[in-house]
Amino acid sequence: MKVILQVEKLTTTFAGTVPGTRIRACDGIDLVIHEGEFIGLVGESGCGKSTLGRTIVGLEKPSAGRVVFDGVDLATLRGAELRSFRRAIQYIFQDPYATLNPRQTIGEALWEGLSIFGIADQSERTRRARKLLDLVGLQKDAETRYPRELSGGQRQRVSIARALTVEPKLLICDEPVSALDLSIRAQIMNVFLNLQQELGMACLFIAHDLALVRQAAHRTLVMYLGRIVEAGESDSLYHFPAHPYTKALLSAVPNPDPRVERTRQRIVLEGELPSPANPPSGCRFRTRCPISKADCAINDPALHSSSADRVVACHYA
């Protein structure tokens, strides 16, 4: 399959709270997404998963590395050319309400997207907007309503429809369902699955819920403190995690069956996420790792294949 997005050694830094320091939110990330592929990106808050997504879409400036989309290095483009090229990557935010202009009706928000895309004819815009509303499962009468009149799930559908106005090839979804109720979550997840399966759209799905990602994504990447620590085929990664962090992450999720939950062995991680401004030496996970040894503090483990279709950044996995 054709590679649609290639991220090489991408590093994004922010100014730290202590003057002069830099926080490396993403630290040398490599990532490849093929056409029509559903990729999961999992990690806890502060691991840099959102920063990675925001850097790819151009909301943050990378301090090093390349983002190659559709064979073109985005750093070589400028101004209007960059805007129209990058448009093919769209971003779905966690809080759809904040991403909609409160003074625009749903119809106006969609028409604006279509007019940015270059559809000048109003009747054509109306036709396309209705088609998109239908595609994301909203009624035609949503057009005349304001964001505040809609429920959380409906708003997220609107924000998806608006992203689709510019006919993207890649959707980056940043925790798009974590603010929604469980029963509504499924409806929105199925919209994403539809887009990927019916329209062949590639999707980078950022989430903290491994079970959710396992069911939707072909491949899953696990991030910890700005680095990818494990990546592989979703199903096997979920059932047979290799990295101690992935194991702990999976083990921390409680099982909904009380009989199982009461008896199962859990790995409870000690301590908290170290500050990304001052990451531990060697392996970044070693301060919380149940299997760390002395040399973990000295040697920084690189991502290496541990089995077919699995890469792990751990000396002992």
Partner: protein, 338 residues
């Protein structure tokens, strides 16, 4: 519920009406429950199910300016607290009931040191001197597992991580050694690895202090690990209540079953559809004549829409297992679940 002891708190037919400038809403409609010492009741529901209002409104913990009307009876240690004047309610809060909120950052005073905020509660409720209260605060911080407690005592809330803030919040809640702890989504804002730590802490504290816990949550996994009993709420009404094992493994209400069904199944094929519910819950301003869940229910019959199905003990279920779904449908739900 199966405890032989008299319940710590028992609520009977609690209904709550909230008045806002634009509308009158009915977030809680005839809800009953009880919790005994050392046991945990989980109240499960989605946003808008009334689970938070049910527990906070009777304690007078609604934001100023919200007029609310509580009817029914809530007995705390044998004392009726519905209709208690605000002055007496203040003594109940903190001393008899501790509360943990979802977002510790907004529940803590940003301008005051953590140690002061904890000490204040013990000083006020346990009648300790200022010095003794500070020493007590230090003990409490060690108890809730805050490392370098003597140093953290002097820090401000924003200097702590989310997990540490929640621990500090718990320390405040248990400072006066209340018999009942209400935890409103205590781990929703936290990462899973931190969530596991906090849940372990709550269980440990419960064992040591013999507290009863009311755990308000939407996370079935948290319920399975923590609770003894569970109350499932939908649109302000009780959908199902009973022993946690009975409700989660042999549900008799289609809403409970749908909630369980919404949890992604690790055995499902990658790329397969997610199970959820169609449309959205009803708004709380309307009080449907029939079962509020009927419009989203795959089992619903005509009688469900015309009359409200009563909460009744389920047939051949475990003790205290009740469902607000006709027995015939309950059996169908059970078959679908297993």
């Amino acid at each position: 519920m199966s405890s032989a002891l008299a319940p710590l708190i028992s609520a009977r037919d609690v209904s709550i009406t909230l008045f806002t400038p634009t509308a009158t809403v009915f977030p809680v409609d005839k809800v009953s429950y009880s919790v005994s010492a050392g046991r945990t009741l989980a109240i499960v529901g989605e946003s808008g199910s009334g689970k938070t209002v049910l527990n906070l409104a009777p304690l007078g913990l609604m934001p100023a300016g919200v007029a609310c009307d509580v009817t029914g009876s809530i007995k705390l240690n044998g004392r009726e607290i519905v209709g208690l004047p605000e002055g007496e309610m203040q003594a109940v809060r903190g001393r008899e009931v501790g509360v943990i909120f979802q977002d510790p950052l907004s529940a803590l005073n940003p301008m005051r040191r953590i140690g002061t905020q904890i000490a204040e509660v013990s000083e006020h409720h346990a009648d300790l001197t200022a010095r003794a209260a500070t020493a007590h605060a230090l003990d409490l911080m060690r108890l809730v597992g805050i490392p370098d407690a003597s140093e953290r005592l002097r820090q401000f809330p924003h200097e702590l991580s989310g997990g540490m803030r929640q621990r500090a919040m718990i320390a405040i809640a248990i400072a006066a050694e209340p018999k009942l702890l209400i935890a409103d989504e205590p781990t929703t804002a936290l990462d899973v690895t931190i969530q596991a730590q906090i849940l372990d802490l709550l269980k440990d504290l419960q064992r040591r202090l013999g507290m009863g816990i009311i755990l308000i949550t939407h996370d079935i996994g948290v319920v399975a690990g923590m609770a003894d009993d569970v109350l499932v709420m939908y649109a302000g009404r009780m959908a199902e209540v009973g022993n946690v094992e009975a409700v989660l493994t042999a549900p008799r209400h289609p809403y409970t079953q749908a909630l369980l069904n919404s949890i992604p199944d690790p055995a499902s094929r990658v790329g397969s559809r997610f199970n959820g519910l169609p449309s959205a819950p009803p708004d709380l301003g309307s009080r449907p004549k029939g079962c509020p869940f009927a419009p989203r229910c795959e089992f619903a019959m005509d009688t469900c829409r015309s009359a409200r199905p009563p909460l009744a003990l389920v047939k051949d279920g475990s003790a205290g297992h009740m469902s607000a779904c006709p027995p015939k449908l309950g059996q169908a739900v059970l078959r679908a679940a297993s």
